[in-house]
Symmetry: C2
Subunit: 232 residues, 2 copies
């Protein structure tokens, strides 16, 4: 017998109250993720090797803030208050940042590069289970390819200039992705995102779906590390 996991419209229309809880939780995580990324990135910008690098990181931080504003506006349009919805996620996202505090500017841009990309993959994977308005917001809050390439090229230059950075940044990349996936799984379990959106973890086939999602996030991360010439 073929198992069919809960799918978007079905879920949204069959249990609108439950859908709304999931949706607000997801948007709350995203909103606070962007707001805190903005603050961390712009604080780290100060330690950039050159003023141009500071401006580059500043631009990236400003982009994260505009994403926060888009998500907050979407929450507003759903009759929810961003501050209230973000509240439950502050402690765990702050703890994530504390566990992944960059030791220098290179680790800081590596963190922006790795975490933004894997978050984007994660939200896009969930996106197809969501309503069209939310899908649109999720597609708008993605870092553009140009922004992502700018960081990647800056990292490549840094690795070419300082070959000893390689092993440190490779290790850092692994640590970041490990923490990010742990975080996503914890949020998924605590707040039942993944259960609600892609299946029920009590069900072995659904667990398999979750495992597949995480495997695909890891593969995409490995490809990005390879582009930098780093071992994932």
């Amino acid at each position: 017998m073929q198992h069919v996991p809960s799918v978007p419209d079905e879920f949204e229309t069959s249990d609108p109250r439950r859908y709304r809880i999931f949706l607000l939780d997801l948007l709350g995580v995203m909103a606070y993720g962007e707001l805190s990324a903005f603050e961390r990135l712009s604080s780290d910008a100060r330690f950039s090797p050159t003023l141009n690098d500071r401006a580059t990181l500043g631009q990236r931080a400003v982009a994260e803030f505009s994403h926060y504003e888009l998500i907050a506006a979407h929450l507003g349009s759903l009759g929810a208050d961003a501050q209230e919805i973000m509240g439950p996620f502050v402690a765990s996202i702050d703890a994530f940042h504390d566990r992944t505090r960059p030791a220098d500017w290179y680790e800081s841009i590596m963190k922006a590069y790795v975490i933004d990309a894997i978050s984007a993959d994660f939200y896009l994977a969930l996106s197809r289970h969501l309503d069209p308005q939310t899908q649109r917001v999720i597609s708008e809050v993605q870092v553009t390819e140009a922004q992502s390439d700018a960081l990647m090229n800056r990292l490549k230059d840094a690795l070419a200039d300082h070959p000893r950075l390689s092993s440190r940044l490779a290790l850092w990349g692994r640590r970041l992705v490990g923490e990010a996936l742990t975080q996503a799984q914890r949020l998924g379990i605590e707040r039942a995102f993944l259960e609600g959106l892609i299946g029920n973890p009590q069900d072995s086939e659904d667990t398999d779906h979750v495992a597949k999602l995480f495997a695909s996030l890891t593969r995409a991360h490995s490809r990005r590390m390879n582009l930098l010439g780093l071992t994932a």
Copy 2:
């Protein structure tokens, strides 16, 4: 005999090479002032009492970054590189920030309120001695009245909620303005802005012009403190 200080067009056209040096210095100070304000404000945002306050401070920081970008673009249009032009001012502006490190979030918004306003007054006072393109940039990089009112109202609320803040913030306001004017005077002397733009400090009548500018900056600051119910 009536003394006529050097005036804009006269200066700009009579000694274009010297005018360019003054102009680039001024834009360099402004650009680095905005970039560093962006970084400091957004780092401080993390310590806001509420998530709404964090977002408010974040918006303000983003505005400072967009000012930086406008000035950098103007420098580019003058054939100058923002990074190079900002270089000589980094140490003294960083030192200013180190001397005026806010002890908490209230001191941080007070700093934004006081320093942005007095910088705006200072640049606007110089503006009328400058070429029209630069005048336009200076008018564009001003914090809007709405942005300034938002901080003022937030400060008023804070003072109403925590009456003990008054004496601390009054003291802090005096310290900030003292440091800012010292900084402006030092920059003025070291880099000859004021000499070039509003007169020659060797000349007693010109010194008088400089003194008058500083007196008017101080008066405007006192008015702003009074609006908050604080003694300047």
